[in-house]
């Protein structure tokens, strides 16, 4: 567990750096978290993050990678609609790293 300060607010993260309280999320926070990994969030990163957030709001879980890939293909073009591209954006894996920036909990299970 640790806390970071974002926009004057103390925000709690769990041992793996995921938000303890999902309502604490803000764009600034996503930026801070990615900066810690030396990653600059660009437009495509935000596309992914925003999609993850809206999917989560509806289903209380992150989408499977294939759904994410399809969505990216739709919004960003066929050349971007593949897992490789997602790994380029989020080297630690889209499922875990992107979810963390998006303020989603870590998936559990045999994954």
């Amino acid at each position: 567990m640790r806390t970071i300060e974002c926009a004057g607010k103390k925000i709690e993260l769990d041992e793996d750096g995921y938000l303890t309280n999902l309502n604490d999320w803000s764009e600034d926070l996503a930026k801070m978290l990615s900066k810690e990994d030396n990653l600059d969030l660009t437009e495509p990163h935000w596309e992914v993050i925003n999609f993850l957030r809206s999917y989560y709001q509806q289903y209380q879980i992150a989408p499977m990678i294939k759904i994410l890939v399809k969505e990216i293909k739709k919004t960003m073009g066929a050349d971007k609609g593949n897992t490789k591209y997602l790994y380029q954006l989020f080297p630690d894996g889209p499922a875990k790293q992107a979810c963390r920036y998006a303020g989603l909990p870590k998936p559990t299970g045999c994954v």
Binding site: D16, Y59, I61, M64, K66, I67, T83, G109, C110
Partner: protein, 529 residues
């Protein structure tokens, strides 16, 4: 004469003990590097206590602990009493464990058989040393000489906080894979000792997070991932759309269809993660092409059963119950299980005792079937048209998932658990090569993350424990050009697709057997056979 301690003093002592334990069991991220692959599995140099710093995360969420019936405030005040009471209960309930306590002759046949020992060199990862952690307590408190003369006399251990730390550490560096038991002249199964040890730790309030959080989700939400119904439906509809788009055929991924012939249960990872999901495409194609009506269930949306990992029948029963409730409610004739190692063990070996008899099923299928069994049967009957050239690019090997390999039979024939999956692979691929003989079948090496060790917190153990499997794969790759490992376990898939890149191999080289099946099935109108 010692003065009775006041209640307050006792309380303070307990709080302090708990604080000390929490501090010592704190998990910290430990990064380790994978060794270079040579194709050899060598016995390592001893590296005592090298893995003592690796601690899995503790579960602290009160709501989950309370639901599971474990203490919610950390180490309980009278922990020694609770510990011994629980251990006594376990020894009585699991007579095998009691027997294992008594019969080890210290022959040493097991010492170099554990992947965690081979990967770490830590002598406490030798199976017999792991067992001794419990045996020392057993000798001290459960044998007459130990009771009479104390631990020194019987080489036993008194209960201490240090002992708790050792237990928590090394019983969570055992994946309960049972490889050691194959080599033990007495068949001592360390896995059962580990399971019991974990339950004893649970009873005093030392509860590991990954595995118990999942038991909670499987019971309360219905699957390990914690997927709500609408998310399951969304995922399965997506897969159905994709299949129909790809093939132009009306392939269904049915959910909650009453009156279907088959209820299909599989780990929830199969409708969420990669490469797991690829096998789901394969299952759907098999059912479609064979013309078998099937359904999945939102109620029984998990095949896995982590209750096994602590041998807790109550937890296991609750999770398993959903499957049989769904089978009854949907009025199916049989139950088929997808690609999951320990799920198969629970489903095939424990179901009947827990929720049988299944007289409402078609009596030809009194027991659940494995998807490989079903597919193999169809292949044998020529009921599926196969184009092996679809898998031309692959030279395939098979990783025997230990819970299947050292579980119970499959398909009602001796060695079916080895031969049937292989027959399916051979039936859909031109090129199949085995890894070295001492790393497959009943002597298979675990993927390194089984039975509760798949969390990110266990990364050090995972990387080191994967070593033997990785070396064996590398050997097959170097000697025979193998470029794909097919398997039937969700945990193995998650672990190996993560470990392959760690060891410098592409993660795409890992996948399910039905991923290969799905590629090779020729769909469309059936020719008469």
């Amino acid at each position: 004469m010692t003065k009775e301690k006041t209640a307050e003093e006792q309380c303070n002592e307990a709080c302090e003990a708990n604080e000390r334990i929490q501090e010592q069991l704190k998990f910290s991220k430990i990064k380790v590097k994978a060794v270079k692959l040579t194709g050899e599995i060598n016995i390592p140099e001893l590296n005592p206590k090298s893995m003592l710093s690796v601690k899995p995360q503790l579960l602290t969420a009160k709501e989950m602990l309370e639901h599971l019936g474990y203490p919610a405030g950390g180490l309980v005040p009278n922990w020694k009493e609770v510990f011994l009471r629980k251990m006594d209960e376990m020894l009585k309930k699991y007579r095998s464990v009691k027997l294992y306590m008594d019969i080890c002759v210290k022959c040493g046949a097991c010492v170099d058989k554990c992947h965690y020992y081979l990967g770490t060199g830590d002598p406490l990862n030798m199976p017999v040393a792991r067992q001794e952690l419990m045996r020392k307590v057993y000798r001290r408190y459960f044998t007459l000489p130990g009771k009479l003369f104390g631990s020194r006399f019987v080489n036993g251990s008194d209960l201490s906080e240090e002992l708790l730390v050792m237990w928590y550490t090394y019983f969570y560096q055992c994946s309960e894979c049972r490889r050691c038991s194959v080599f033990c002249p007495y068949g001592i199964d360390t896995a059962e000792i580990t399971m019991a040890a974990r339950e004893i730790l649970n009873s005093v309030g030392i509860v590991q997070k990954y595995l118990h959080e999942i038991i909670f989700k499987a019971q309360v939400i219905g699957n390990n991932l914690g997927m709500q119904q609408n998310a399951i439906v969304n995922a399965l509809e997506f897969v159905q759309d994709e299949l129909q788009e790809e093939t132009g055929l009306d392939i269904k991924v049915p959910i909650d269809v009453e009156g279907a012939e088959v209820l299909f249960v599989t780990p929830s990872a199969d409708f969420f993660a990669s490469p797991h999901i690829e096998s789901l495409y394969g299952y759907a194609k098999v059912f479609h092409q064979a013309g078998i009506s099937w359904t999945m269930s939102t109620h029984a949306s998990e095949g896995g059963n982590f209750g096994l990992f602590i041998h807790n029948y109550e937890h296991m029963k609750k999770i398993n119950k959903r499957i049989w409730e769904a089978a009854r409610a949907l009025k199916v004739k049989r139950v088929v299980g997808g690609e999951c190692g320990h799920m198969w063990r629970v489903l095939s070996s424990y179901s009947n005792t827990m929720w049988g008899p299944f007289d409402y099923l078609d009596q030809k299928y009194k027991r659940p079937q494995h998807i490989c069994e079903l597919t193999n049967d169809l292949l044998n009957r020529g009921a599926l048209k196969i184009d092996k050239s679809a898998n031309e690019e692959f030279i395939v090997t098979m990783h025997d998932s230990c819970q299947v390999a050292r579980g119970m039979e499959l398909g009602g024939m001796p060695n079916g658990q080895f031969e049937i999956p292989r027959a399916v692979i051979r039936g859909v691929c031109e090129k199949f090569v085995e890894m070295p003989a001492d790393t497959i079948k009943e002597r298979t090496f675990c993927c390194g993350a089984g039975q509760g060790l798949l969390g990110d917190d266990m990364m050090a153990t995972r990387v080191k424990g994967a070593m033997p499997r990785m070396q064996a794969y590398h050997y097959a790759k170097r000697e025979s050009g193998v470029n794909f490992v097919a398997l039937i376990c969700a945990i193995c898939k998650a672990q190996l697709s993560k470990m392959f890149p760690e060891y410098g191999v592409a993660m795409e080289e890992v996948g399910g057997i039905h991923q290969l099946v799905g590629r090779a099935i020729v769909l469309g109108a059936k020719e008469s056979v």
